[in-house]
């Protein structure tokens, strides 16, 4: 099966319907296993039990950036190949990404209160993630402002690609500006700085959250395709000449 065959909405629908239950089950199992592993992980010698917020916070933050990346690739699909499925993928991803970003901000500030003594600090990482959240909201507003879905898709695609500039800024903000947020410790040139007892549950949680995103994204894409079919059926119905009695 080639990619172009998969990109056919009808084929996509049947595939998504078949795959979704398995994906959802796998996600649930992995989430439970990851949370169990996280609960077993030892307390940090400095941070105590609060270090366990990391297992929720870090995957959320990764996914917040990853979803914008997915949307950027989908936007390229919209602008270059004008493929309707790319529009659907970009539109379905935006609310999910906004939710991940919001959760990353909330868990981060809950973690920050006992560790840094403040819920919010205007440092580079926190501020740039907040901007990312605002841009997600602006993008959702743009999707809703245009009635015709394919025109909305192209407007949103331009904004998504311009906003993608923010992603490397977030990634490297802790290296470029020396601020309160700790520097990158998991993915480094010199190998991870984390102990194995923390790293393993974190990676399991990261995979579980990625699967959660894929599951939610496929389900949202399916809903969006069905919603569009419904819309075009309604338009068809409305354009029919009315038989006068």
């Amino acid at each position: 099966m080639t990619l172009t065959e998969l990109a056919n909405p009808t084929r996509f629908l049947s595939l998504a319907t078949r795959v979704l239950p398995w994906l959802a089950m796998l996600t649930a199992v992995l989430l439970v296993f990851g949370l169990y592993q996280a609960a077993l992980a030892p307390d940090d010698y400095q941070q105590g039990a609060t270090v366990k917020i990391m297992f929720i916070h870090v995957p959320n933050a990764w996914l917040a950036m990853f979803v914008w990346g997915v949307m950027s690739v989908a936007s390229l699909g919209t602008l270059v190949w004008r493929h309707p499925l790319a529009d659907v993928a970009a539109k379905a991803a935006a609310p999910i990404g906004a939710a991940f970003t919001f959760l990353a901000l909330v868990t981060g500030s809950l973690w920050g209160r006992p560790m840094w003594g403040t819920y919010w600090e205007w440092d580079a990482r926190l501020t740039s993630v907040l901007i990312l959240f605002l841009m997600y909201l602006g993008l959702i507003a743009l999707w809703r402002a245009v009635e015709d879905p394919s025109r909305a898709a192209r407007a949103a695609a331009v904004l998504t690609l311009v906003g993608a500039i923010n992603i490397p800024i977030i990634k490297f903000s802790v290296d470029w500006w020396n601020t309160l947020h700790q520097p990158a410790s998991v993915i480094r040139m010199a190998g991870s700085a984390l102990d194995k007892s923390f790293l393993t549950p974190l990676l399991i949680m990261a995979v579980a959250f990625s699967l959660l995103f894929i599951t939610l994204h496929l389900a949202a894409m399916r809903n969006e395709i069905l919603r569009r079919r419904l819309r075009s059926l309604q338009m068809l119905q409305a354009s029919k000449p009315v038989a006068l009695p």
Partner: protein, 224 residues
């Protein structure tokens, strides 16, 4: 080239004449700055400390106010369709329109800055520093704002959405503009002026490249 030149001349002429709204931006800028002492109190030292931030915020809001006229007026009278159909590349046309907008609406803000600096108790060198950062930074505001203006012109009621879409993109400009001004005023000697200033120049140059392409793309896709 002559098409672009006449487009720039036309846009400036429209902007400066009655109802064009470019000079209203300066009036708005003045009003924002005058409002500040009422909000934070008439303490002159505090005003001098906050001066660059106030001036930058005022300029940002004023340029945002005039942005939606960039394509909206042409869209309303139909000339945007002619511009889209002309043989000149749309990217160049967008760049020319943004340049005209900056000349008509951005430069007056920079010129007004020394007068407003007097109101905020800034001394000569501080005013010069803020005016210099505004001179370098306002093109970035115009060229990134143009993306939002091009997106908004294809919508029915895009005015408020324009502000929501453009403001997050203008945050880096604000950060480095105020950082450079503050380095010249408050932390003389401890912080270098040239580092944030050159980053500000870099942002302006990058937006000069990205802005016209993104605006042209959204116009092309939005208008058909």
């Amino acid at each position: 080239m002559s098409a672009l030149g006449s487009l720039i001349r036309r846009d400036i002429r429209i902007a400066l004449r009655v109802g064009g709204g470019a000079l209203i931006g300066v009036l708005f800028f003045l009003t924002v700055v005058v409002l500040m002492p009422f909000a934070i109190g008439p303490d002159l030292n505090l005003l001098a400390r906050l001066g660059p931030a106030i001036l930058w915020l005022g300029a940002l809001l004023a340029s945002l106010l005039t942005l939606d006229r960039l394509f909206m007026a042409d869209h309303d009278d139909g000339s945007l369709d002619l511009i889209l159909m002309s043989r000149t590349p749309l990217e160049l046309t967008c760049a020319a329109k943004a340049l005209a907008h900056w000349l008509a609406a951005g430069v007056p803000l920079v010129v007004a800055t020394p007068v407003l600096g007097l109101l905020l108790n800034l001394d000569g060198s501080a005013t010069a520093a803020v005016a210099l950062t505004l001179l370098v930074g306002t093109p970035a505001l115009t060229f990134t704002g143009m993306i939002g203006a091009a997106l908004a012109v294809t919508l029915q009621r895009g005015g408020l959405l324009l502000a929501v879409l453009v403001l997050p993109l203008s945050i880096p400009v604000l950060i480095f503009g105020v950082a450079a001004s503050n380095a010249a005023i408050v932390e003389q000697g401890t912080m270098s002026f040239s580092t944030p200033f050159s980053i500000l120049c870099a942002i302006s140059l990058a937006s000069l490249v990205i802005g016209p392409f993104a605006a042209a793309a959204s116009l092309r896709h939005g208008m058909d």
